[in-house]
Symmetry: C2
Subunit: 229 residues, 2 copies
DNA sequence: GCCAAGTGTGTCACTCGGTGTCAATGTGTG
DNA sequence: CACACATTGACACCGAGTGACACACTTGGC
C-alpha cells in the first residue's frame, strides 16, 4: 500500500476475487460433496490458479467455515454490547440468537452450507474447533462483564475460575444444538424459537454465578456453589 | 483367518504392531510437535512401512486421538450402568469422572498426550469431533434412561427433544473444561475435584428435566422452563 | 514334505492439499 | 519515465493418504 488511494481500489479487487472463490467453492462443494471436489477445480471455476486460492484461504475447509465465521466475531461484539444489568442467561441467549437469526433469515443460502458442514467430518471438526475459539472469547468477555477478572499470570482453578468457560460452553452447546436441529429439518423450523427453548433449559445454571458477583437483573444471585477451594 | 487357531496368533501380532506404532508416534510427536514429524519417521521407528501405518490408523491424527478414544466407549457404558434412581447431574458427573480419573491416575503417560492434543489445532479439531460423537451417544443413552424415547422417524423439535442433547453437551463441556484446566497446569491439580466443581455449576439445569419425567433422587426438580413451545 | 488358500506386508506409482520461490504484470507515486 | 509495491501464475516440491501388485508367512489338508 504505497498510497492511500490504492487501498479502496486493490481492496475491492481482492474482495471481488474472494467472493468469486467462495461462490465457486460453495456451489461445487454443496453439489458434489467435499471430497469429490479439488481445489484446482474451484480455482479454475473462479478463474484463478490454485496458488491464488491458498493466498485467500488457509485451507479447503476454510472457504466453507469462513462463510460462517463472521458469526463468531459478531457474538463477542454482541455480548459486549448487551446491557450490564442483564443476567447471563439473557445476555448469552441474545448473543447466540443473533447469528442464528441471521441463518434463519438467509435460509436459502445458509442452509445448504450448514448442512454441508454438519455432515462432512472434516468440516464439522474445523467448525467445532472454531467454536472452541469462540468459547474462549466469550469466556473472557463474560468474566469481564461479571467482574471476575482472570488474573492472566496465575490461573486459579477455583470454581469462580471455572464458571465463565462453562457458561460460554453451555451457550455454544445450545448454539450447536439449534444449528443441528435446524439443519436436520427442512429449514422451516424457527431458529429463534429453538434458541429460546434451549436456553430455558440452561438458564438455571447460567444465572447461578458463584462468588461475590452482582447480577442486578436476577432476583437472587444464590452464591450456592463453592466447595473444594 | 482360515482357521480358528490363527486368530489368537495373528491377533497378537497385530496388537503388537499397533502398540509399537502408537508408542513410536506418541514419543516422537510429544517430543518434536505434530507437524515436525512425518508418518514415514513414525513407521520407520516402529520398524514398518508407511503403508502399514495407514493399515492400522486412518490418519496421522488418529494415532493420538485413538489413545484417548476408549474414554468415549467407557462413558456410554458408565452412564448405562449408573442406577436409574440417580438424578442426571449425578449420573453424568460420574460418567465423565471415570475417564477423567483415569487420566489423573496415569498422569505420567496421559498428560503429555492431552497437552499435545489441546495445543495442536489439527488434533484439537479431531478430538472435538469425537466429543460430538460421544455427545450423540450419551444423548440417546440419557433419553432412554429418562424414558424420553426419541421417535426415530419424526424428530420433534420440542423442548423435551432438545434436553438430552443439551444435557450431554453440558456434561462434555465440563469434561473439556476440566481437561483443559488439568493440562494447562502441571498435573498436580485433581481432576476429580475440578469435575465436582464444574458439575456444581451445571447441576441446576441438568436436573431440571422437562416434561413428565420422574427423577427420584432429586429433592426438587424445578420444572420452571417451558416457554415458547 | 508339498501344496493350496488366506492374511499381512513392502514397494511403487499416483492423487491431492499445501507451501516456497521467482518471474511477470499491474498500479500508483515521484 | 522510473520507481516501489502488491498481486498473480507457473513451477517445483513436500507430505498425507490410497490403490495395485508381488512377496512372504502362516495354517490346514494331502
Amino acid at each position: 500500500m504505497s498510497s492511500p488511494s490504492d487501498i479502496p481500489m486493490a481492496q475491492r479487487k481482492r474482495q471481488l476475487v474472494a467472493n468469486e472463490l467462495t461462490e465457486a467453492a460453495l456451489q461445487l462443494l454443496a453439489q458434489r460433496g467435499f471430497d469429490a471436489v479439488t481445489v484446482d477445480e474451484i480455482a479454475a471455476v473462479a478463474g484463478v490458479s490454485k496458488r491464488t486460492f491458498f493466498r485467500y484461504f488457509a485451507s479447503k475447509e476454510d472457504v466453507v467455515v469462513r462463510f460462517l465465521a463472521d458469526m463468531g466475531n459478531g457474538m463477542r461484539a454482541e455480548l459486549a454490547a448487551r446491557p450490564a444489568a442483564e443476567p447471563p442467561s439473557v445476555a448469552l441467549r441474545h448473543t447466540v440468537a443473533v447469528p442464528l437469526a441471521a441463518c434463519g433469515d438467509h435460509a436459502e443460502r445458509a442452509l445448504p452450507v450448514v448442512r454441508l458442514i454438519m455432515r462432512t467430518p472434516a468440516l464439522r471438526a474445523r467448525f467445532l474447533e472454531r467454536q472452541a475459539q469462540w468459547r474462549d472469547d466469550l469466556s473472557v468477555e463474560l468474566a469481564a462483564r461479571l467482574g471476575l477478572e482472570a488474573r492472566d499470570g496465575a490461573e486459579a482453578a477455583a470454581p469462580a475460575g471455572l464458571y465463565p468457560g462453562l457458561a460460554a460452553g453451555m451457550a455454544l452447546v445450545a448454539f450447536d444444538a439449534v444449528l443441528q436441529q435446524w439443519s436436520d429439518g427442512d429449514g422451516t423450523a424457527d431458529p429463534a424459537g429453538l434458541t429460546d427453548s434451549a436456553f430455558a433449559v440452561l438458564a438455571a445454571s447460567l444465572d447461578a454465578v458463584p462468588e461475590r458477583v452482582v447480577v442486578p437483573g436476577a432476583a437472587d444471585q444464590g452464591r450456592a456453589a463453592n466447595r473444594t477451594a
